[in-house]
Amino acid sequence: MTKKPIQFKLNGADKAVFVDEGQNLLDVLRRGVGDLSPKYGCAQGTCGACTVLVDGEPYLSCLVLAQTMEGRQISTTAGLVVDGGVDPLQEAFMENFAAQCGFCTPGMLMAAKALLDRNPKPSREEVIEAISGNICRCTGYEPIINAILDAAGRGVGRRSA
């Protein structure tokens, strides 16, 4: 197995890392560049805990070959921090008690961000559709849905790039 160098932007910062041919993006983010915010859940694309944004679109990073990320822009929950404070979307999650064990939360946040960036005023049904690929085993779907609608009400989608 040969290692290849790739470069990408992670939350706006340049990253360069050697990756194995079959290595997935989740592994490169967590072990290659040390961003532990995307979670390792099922490693087969069914739980959504590893969701990140690639050029603004939600991707299951465990199913993405890292080598295809050359030159791409990747956003993770770690990058939601703005000027040392939490993002309004995270604030909405906190205020709506939308986390219990918290393992699904980073994936939920990125799925929500992708939704609000393309649709700043989603309906309840559209929110449900957007997070339907993300499993919450503590089963706090209702507060999560409410938090995303709350964030939309605060104009989170409009202020995002």
């Binding site: 099922c42 087969q44 449900i128 559709e129 706090g140 779907y141 507060p143």
Partner: protein
Amino acid sequence: MTIYKGRGFACINYPIGMNLGGDPSQALVHSNPDGKFSVALSSIDLGQGMKSITRQIAAETLGVPVEDVYVDTADSDTGPHCMGSFASRGTHRVGNAVIQAAKEARAVMLEAAAEELEVNAADLETDGKGNIHVRGAPSRSITTAEASAAAQFKHGKTVAGRGIFLIPLSDVDPETGEMTPVSCYAHAALVVDVEVDDETGEVRVVQMNSAYEVGRALNPRLVEQQLVGGAWMGMSHALWETTEPYYPDRAHGPVDFNEYLMPGPGDIAPHDIAILERPAPDGPYGGKGPGEMCANPVLPAVANAVFNAVGVRVDELPITPEKVLRGIKANGGAQSQGTY
């Protein structure tokens, strides 16, 4: 195709913890040099909020702000012994151990404060905001951080405490078989409304209403999360989840989230919960344990609701469309047991 409506009811008396071997849990509390407190536990927070609850309990007992308490869990190599996180025992068992440990540590902290203020420790009280002052004379005060520092750097004392919860082992009466397996019960009643499709056999939970008596709700939002999430799990157990759909035949058993069925965000039923607080005499600040009981009554209530809707009594979980359809067919059609 007809949609039949049904309503089912179930209630539960739920024992907190168990009595095998006395069900012990231990806690160690100590003050760090900065005057903040660490609580060492081997208990595990599975996401239900044990760290939050034990932090609240320790802060309340010590008389310090909750921000000044750090709970360190789940290191069974170096932490004190705990039976574990199961049987809804965390809040009750571990909480009691934390109270005992925190009381001991508080006593040392107050002794140190008394020496610094040159008063009797019995005359001191905490304000919960990080201050210790003489009862009736708030101006004569010292911070909890200063008291802890004085103990550790001047008096040569550890501000620390040990706590354990252990209930007396209950023997079985040889004549009657009677014993006291648990020390504390929580209670709940739950009503489930369903819609059953007589063509597909599909059951949809459309509404849940419940009342839970959980002792004192030490953290009301955590209790609510637990009850909402647990009811969803109960609904999931009743209608979806199984590892052996054709038990005892293991065929077609799911092996991953692709095949293991669970309701998703679009399958939530509205759930109105009334939380009744009757503080338990032996509970930490009256708390019991809403743990597992939040899922349990949902299963019989759903089964009863399905019977009410179409007259099919399914006694093997989960209540799949296949079982409902076979039942309807065996009865010669859906037989509603009356409207509510």
